[in-house]
Symmetry: none
Subunit: 419 residues, 2 copies
Amino acid sequence: MSAEIICVGTELLLGDILNTNVQFLAKELASLGIPHYYQSVVGDNLGRLGRVIDLASQRSSILIFTGGLGPTPDDLTTEAIADFFQTPLEEKPEIIQDIAAKFAKRGRKMSPNNHKQALIPIGADILPNPSGTAPGIIWQPRRDLTIFTFPGVPSEMKRMWVETAVPYLKSLGWGKEIIYSRTLRFRGIGESALAEKVAPFFELTNPTVAPYASKGEVRLRVSALASSESGASDLISPIAKQIQEIAGTDYFGADDDTLASVTGKLLLAAGETLSVAESCTGGGLGQMLTSVSGSSEYFLGGVIAYHNRVKMSTLGVKEEDLDQFGAVSEVVAKQMALGVKQRLGSTWALSITGIAGPSGGTETKPVGLVYVGLAGPTERVDSFKYLLGTGRERDTIRYISACNALDRLRRKLLERQRN
Amino acid sequence: MSAEIICVGTELLLGDILNTNVQFLAKELASLGIPHYYQSVVGDNLGRLGRVIDLASQRSSILIFTGGLGPTPDDLTTEAIADFFQTPLEEKPEIIQDIAAKFAKRGRKMSPNNHKQALIPIGADILPNPSGTAPGIIWQPRRDLTIFTFPGVPSEMKRMWVETAVPYLKSLGWGKEIIYSRTLRFRGIGESALAEKVAPFFELTNPTVAPYASKGEVRLRVSALASSESGASDLISPIAKQIQEIAGTDYFGADDDTLASVTGKLLLAAGETLSVAESCTGGGLGQMLTSVSGSSEYFLGGVIAYHNRVKMSTLGVKEEDLDQFGAVSEVVAKQMALGVKQRLGSTWALSITGIAGPSGGTETKPVGLVYVGLAGPTERVDSFKYLLGTGRERDTIRYISACNALDRLRRKLLERQRN
């Protein structure tokens, strides 16, 4: 018994898109304990798709397809599968109804092409797609073979996997021994420095501990093999706790925690509010904060002060300071934070001003120079200077700047908690 | 004649790493005009690796391996290839010398393990690795089959590909005919509706036209085979032009164009400016606009009016309207756009207010209900209502909302241009 992932799409063969679906599915199979020996990619071509199905159905017992479920003539996955198993397709009225309802909900009319998406092999079950038009199938064309099909759009595929495929696989008995991982997330420490501090943990066998770097943070994955999630958790928790203690405030959260969600929780607990003033990030810090559902409890809003005129008119930044120190300066960062705090009446305020590049850098103010301002409940306003380097891309510099700002507030709130 | 990419490594099957190598190689093959129909991933297992080589050597004439060239016992690529073609391995002294020199340079001693990396099949050529210890091979075990092996480390693989493999392939005559693609991008039309309108183009053979959907937009890829980029462009341009004419303003750009960059160009050409007022997107629209380098020429900034108090205090939204119609309403969207336009003194202003979910929806105002406001140089303020559906995730609803807002302004600017 083993699974094989088959990704269908000429765009993958042309290198137009990065195949993130296969990594997601590979991880999921590992966590369910399902052996997985092969991955294949094939284009939108009926003959070659058929040959891949032929081979895969001989060597694997669970076939997971992504892509090729769309409404256009080059979407061939379902047809190829039905062809290979010599099973006619039938139109499912419930799929038509579902697609039509989705179009209606968005105020649009279903196109005749979409009828194609309602065709599935006789005997197959519908694998519902709650977020898009293309449903998949779950089908056992032979006793010893299970086929799943998913659309290529990652968000749709993931939801269908989690909501329908995983429960189905568990009902078949998979997932009894599971690999369960917890990701510990760190900020303000490099991968090698953290690795040195926690080196003895890398020798463990269950759970295992492995580091990996991610944009703007370092992560440690702690993985345990156990018969239940709680069993795995019992193995992971004491190790995670020891690591957290070693890392101190450089540890900020686990799994789905983000700097924004963690900082938000601290604000919520204190009954305090936050506003932001953004120049080079142009709204990215606000977006990060509001990606957390429920952030309206503590996030009031902010000002995107991209143009200097806006810095003056809406934040009260002084013209003479802009002239003397420039928009990217400690003085201006502080005035921005103070200005938005006063204007919006929040407990805390963060500001960001910097040079994201690729142009706009000078000898004294290079690309990557960023100031973060932090105003709080007292008179005091802090500012922090960052040199994020010229090798980085504009959007990376902006992203890291927003993370840095959040991290400053997080540490400030923690510090106060401890005192 | 076609190429197949075979990536070797259990870490790929566990989902520990994202396979970026295969995307790089796929793009490179396309640009050299080398047909490429299959990609395979297999773990560090001699038997399964042998079966993949067996199959690939029957269906493809150029096999490109990545991974499995390291010094440890689970690195099996070279051994598996030699086994399959029943060719003994021989140790190459020049490889030993090269590895030893690299270790010496780093002040380290070569490990006995590394001797394994000097073994290559008799008759194969060394594919030098200037940046790492593991060299690859270039080998023709049969007249009609060429094998390349590369290490899995992306930076080493890429350099070896560019410095040795590409010149070698060109010496075989590849690269005389290249495949060049242009991606046409559309908004405001579904994949199936667009496909219907441009159906006859799908029958073309050079260039070919194929649709694919992406988050918040639809794309058509027009690909031509020609002896030069300009030759390909000559084939693509007339077709692209016809498609653009059919699609009208639903077509917004090609390749790296984004809604933000295209809208920015229109503003720049008109010498006009823009500001934004964001509620549910929390800064995402501003971030999108400022991800374009040079956007400070036309984007002044904005207000993130997440809390109703901020909508009133900084944008002049009327309390009685918030009470009567709610924050997510046409009236409030209009007042937000007008308020930020007046406050920041821009020519145009966009506003967004909506329910991004997952909570906060009601019977009459479901998750996904979004209003976009658009104020311009005249007194007139428009508003647009969207139902983005309950199936979508919070961040997707926010992303599409920001795209919708930009698209409204883009269409408005185009409309004026035409009149």
